[in-house]
């Protein structure tokens, strides 16, 4: 609906992975993946994002070779790998909860895949050394996995999957097993290592923050198919459907009808307010649409804003303090509740609103996204 995100003109990127109309049906009835097509370019970090049961893991497992597609084909660097068993694919995977071999030392875990390839001993030693340095685990080489902390185990798992220099690296919920505090630092380490090696990645996650910070492109998945594929900011700021808007971050949704449809602006009349959108959309007058507005783009005040557009009035029914910001729940006269997020940029609690106060919410004319019904 909205205009496309700006694209920088670059030479056409080299396609590494191509998934063509892949469908996976379990037990003849359950469609886990439904006619999905996708390309991943060389050097890209591509994220499959979705809730549990959306088909993202099945898709990843088909790339790894643990599942065979019911229909469709998968190509890697132009070669059809659809029916290759996992041990013949130049693809490696970092497993959720790591799947480190508990009976082998860190060194042996990393060397495991190299030995299977019949690499000469001295080369194996050299490669493992390199990997240990990459993960900053040199002094832990002889430890067993259970003697490592969660973050260290995670790094071993990563370099184990990188040791064979795969063309494609698959990451299954790479940070899922870590506690919140550890996640941020580990995430940075992970991206640094991946970028240093320059490997192409496909990662699966249910955590939108993880997807947004790590990936160069995101596919939002639901019920076995892609809802939207795009750069993180595009998916966040320009969701193409209510589902995506709702899944990625918080959103206030207004139902309305296009009243005015001009090249440089449109207005949408909703029961609560009239939205003035500062750019054209591909719709027509009288069309029923939804307007998505993120809470952080709403400003609150106790004074009535000027003008007739882009504001509404309600009663503060809930204040949730998060430290860095505060979320206000505003009950509009229509009964609808919207959320507004205010930054706590001073130490006295910002706009001085409290429970039961009347307040005005307003936003600027580029804050919202118009979505088809």
């Amino acid at each position: 609906m909205a205009t496309a995100p700006k694209e920088i003109n670059q030479p056409a990127p080299e396609v590494l992975l191509r998934v063509e109309n892949v469908t996976k049906i379990y037990d003849g009835t359950v469609k886990a993946v439904d006619d999905v097509s996708l390309t991943v370019n060389k050097g890209e970090i591509f994220a499959l994002l979705g809730g549990s049961g959306c088909g993202k893991s099945t898709l990843l497992r088909m790339m790894a070779g643990f599942e065979m597609p019911t229909k469709g084909k998968i190509f890697l660097a132009g070669q059809d790998i659809t029916n290759l068993p996992p041990y013949q694919r130049p693809i490696n995977m970092m497993f959720q909860s790591y799947a480190l071999f508990p009976h082998l030392s860190v060194w042996e875990n990393i060397a495991f895949g190299l030995k299977r390839d019949g690499m000469p001993k001295d080369q194996i030693a050299e490669r493992v050394e390199k990997m240990l340095n990459l993960a900053q685990l040199g002094k832990f080489a002889q430890r067993k996995p259970h003697q490592l902390s969660g973050g260290q185990q995670q790094r071993v798992a990563l370099v184990r999957s990188l040791a064979k220099r795969p063309q494609l690296l698959l990451l299954d919920e790479p940070l899922g097993a870590l506690d919140k505090k550890l996640r941020e630092t580990t995430q940075l380490e992970l991206v640094n290592i991946i970028e240093e090696v320059g490997v192409t990645c496909v990662l699966v996650t249910h955590d939108q923050e993880e997807a947004m910070t790590m990936a160069s492109r995101i596919a939002v998945m639901s019920e076995g198919y892609f809802l939207q594929v795009g750069a993180p900011d595009a998916v966040y700021e320009m969701p193409n459907s209510r589902k995506v808007a709702d899944f990625i971050g918080n959103v206030n949704l207004f139902d309305g009808v296009i009243e005015e449809d001009e090249a440089d602006h449109v207005t949408v009349r909703c029961p609560e307010c009239v939205h003035y959108v500062g750019h054209g959309v591909s719709g027509h007058t009288g069309m029923a649409v939804g307007v998505a507005l993120r809470p952080e783009k709403i400003m609150l005040s106790d004074k009535k804003p000027k003008g007739e557009y882009n504001w509404c009035e309600g009663e503060v029914i809930e204040i949730v303090y998060f430290g860095a910001h505060t979320t206000y729940h505003l009950k509009l006269d229509s009964g609808k509740v919207i959320k507004a997020q205010e930054l706590n940029n001073t130490r006295d609690l910002s706009c001085g609103l409290t429970w039961g106060d009347r307040a005005y919410a307003h936003w600027n004319d580029l804050a919202m996204v118009v979505l088809a019904q």
Partner: protein, 299 residues
């Protein structure tokens, strides 16, 4: 490509060999033998010779179903009595094991965490030492000139030896003794996983400890009670060694009848028929056990 894929998928799972080997093994040694006793139970002993029983070299048409062994079992009151008394002893053993074992498992689960592995090992230890030798040990204790009688007489508690051997008492001692660990282990496994917070919550809501035990602990350990009871009940029904060594001729147990039909009377059809009826008896508690196990697995 199609053949290659077939080849690879087969390599990938190795499924055929992995399933085929145990399948063949159990078909041959578990399923076929049961079918054979079923078949023999429906034939007849001809003369005293054993070999003419096996008449299938003559082909199928020669085989006529003969229910005489079953008729005999259900008309002769001795067999019925023996089945009933086997069930009676098995039930009694189960009950006594439960009464002794439940509190024991409960106390064990409540004992200090660092003690529990040792306590558990002490329950398992006799299980690893020969069952036969332990039954024999009871014989040395319970005989008329056995250790208990000797000790009691030398202490002057009794004048004449108590008749303990070859009575239902000695049989029950042996059975309870041998099968008590089978009751304790599943109960302990169940009770040690029981969340103490339920009891704290009950106490918090004003339930007395005694009531809490009956209203919370017992219902929650139902799976353990069923598992333990079935693990005791099923094998005791067909027990042979204990009644043979400790029970004497007065205690009727079906396992001994089967043994005698086969080894003393050489009556294979009769032994088989006794076995088939025993299997039917066991099916019901087995179904209960499997159901409770399946339910426990679901959780």
């Amino acid at each position: 490509m199609a053949t290659k894929q077939g080849f690879f998928t087969r390599l990938l799972d190795g499924k055929h060999a992995v399933i085929g080997i145990p399948y063949l093994w159990f078909i041959l040694l578990a399923a076929v033998p049961i079918l054979i006793i079923l078949k023999i139970s429906l034939s007849e002993m001809q003369g005293t010779s054993v070999s003419n029983m096996i008449d299938w070299s003559n082909g199928w048409p020669k085989l006529t179903l003969n229910f005489s062994s079953y008729q005999f079992i259900f008309s002769d009151s001795l067999y019925l009595k023996t089945y009933l008394s086997s069930i009676k002893y098995a039930l009694l053993t189960t009950l006594i094991c439960l009464v002794i074992g439940y509190p024991f498992a409960y106390f064990m689960a409540r004992s200090p965490k660092h003690m529990q592995p040792t306590l558990l090992m002490l329950i398992m230890l006799p299980f690893w030492t020969s069952f036969l030798l332990r039954i024999y040990a009871w014989k040395t204790l319970l005989e008329n000139n056995g250790i208990i009688n000797n000790v009691l007489m030398s202490l002057g508690v009794i004048d004449a030896p108590l008749q303990m051997m070859n009575t239902p008492f000695s049989l029950m001692i042996g059975m309870v003794y041998s099968y008590l660990p089978f009751m304790i282990l599943p109960l302990y496994a169940n009770l040690s996983k029981l969340d103490m917070r339920y009891l704290e919550a009950a106490a918090d809501l004003g339930t007395s400890p005694f009531k809490a035990f009956w209203l919370i602990t017992v219902p929650l350990s139902k799976a353990g009670i069923i598992a333990g009871s079935m693990l005791v009940f099923i094998p005791t029904i067909g027990e042979y060694v204990i009644p043979e060594l400790l029970g004497g001729s007065s205690t009727l147990m079906i396992g001994r009848v089967l043994w005698n039909e086969f080894f003393s009377n050489n009556d294979w059809p009769m032994a088989s028929a006794v076995a088939v009826v025993m299997i039917l008896l066991i099916l019901v508690p087995m179904a209960i056990y499997n159901k409770s196990q399946a339910e426990a697995e679901m959780k």
